[in-house]
């Protein structure tokens, strides 16, 4: 069981929305974590083509560093982060491979399609979000109630 936290969750969600709006207002970019992180991965073909002066890879790297600093800063400020993560290595490796592949192959994840795309009323993003919500629900139903029992 996890506790129902409507207020903390809505507040956290508002911060996510604020970040997405700010990234668009300042840099003119979609705050999609899979799109941002895949652009940080080598080879940096896109940026090499555009020339070294282009700092597209750098703001994305900075975004990723911001994500990594966030929990450390939160804990440093006295916050506690509750976490229960599976210790099944095989399961987590498979989950990571499928999550990463699917997010990039499908052009976005919970942030790019779910938050930014749905907010732009993009049909592609709404369809993508409905699809991954459906397969995620089915996956949890199968692992917890069919196989897991």
């Amino acid at each position: 069981m996890t506790e129902f936290t409507p207020f903390a969750s809505a507040f956290g969600g508002a911060l996510i929305g604020l970040s997405a709006v700010m990234l668009m207002a300042f840099n003119g970019r979609i705050a999609g974590v899979s799109g941002i992180s895949v652009a940080v991965l080598p080879p940096w073909v896109q940026d090499m083509r555009r020339g070294l002066a282009d700092d597209d890879a750098l703001w994305r790297l900075a975004f990723v560093v911001g994500l990594l600093v966030a929990p450390v800063g939160y804990q440093f400020a006295g916050g506690t982060i509750e976490q229960t993560v599976s210790s099944d290595a095989i399961l987590m490796i498979c989950a990571g491979l499928i999550t990463g592949f699917g997010a990039v192959f499908g052009g976005g994840c919970t942030s790019g399609h779910g938050v930014c795309g749905m907010s732009r009323l993009s049909v592609r993003s709404i369809i993508a979000t409905a699809t991954f919500m459906a397969t995620a629900l089915i996956t949890v139903f199968v692992t917890r109630h069919v196989i897991g029992g």
Partner: protein, 144 residues
């Protein structure tokens, strides 16, 4: 400035993920477990994030250009193809198995659990493979 703004937005995004509970896979999986120990919290995360972004985008995109770039970089495609459905379908399966989507995976990395140490490198390999497969199928850049 674009780099500083990238960092600031990543930081706010990450704190939002932490406060919302999305960095805890147990909470994500309980949200997805509608027929079990359902925890509807994450509907509030998505709902409020979409609401703020919807209103904010209407204001921001009404302007001529962003502050630190010549133009807004928005996805232009509107077709529904097999690649979108396959990718999104697979993504949901991975999310349902591990309880991590990419944003929370970054936030969970410094918390150094055994599970994220297995998940995170695999996710990057998956993303890399996803990009290679997309590039092979078309020349369209991957957005979002």
């Amino acid at each position: 400035m674009r780099i500083a703004m990238g960092f600031l937005c990543g930081l706010i995004f990450g704190v939002g993920l932490v406060i919302s509970g999305m960095a805890n896979p147990a909470k994500v999986l309980n949200f997805l477990d509608v027929f079990g120990n359902w925890d509807p919290s994450l509907a509030f995360v998505m709902g409020s994030a979409v609401l703020v972004t919807f209103v904010g985008y209407r204001w921001v995109l009404g302007r001529a250009a962003p502050l630190f770039d010549a133009r807004f970089h928005l996805p232009t495609r509107s077709d529904i193809d097999g690649q979108l459905l396959t990718g999104a379908g697979l993504f949901g399966i991975g999310w349902g198995l591990g309880g991590f989507c990419p944003g929370p995976a970054y936030v969970a990395l410094p918390l150094a659990s055994f599970g994220i140490a297995a998940f995170f490198p695999a996710m990057l390999i998956g993303m890399w493979a996803g990009r290679a497969s997309s590039a092979r199928l078309s020349t369209t850049a991957v957005g979002g």
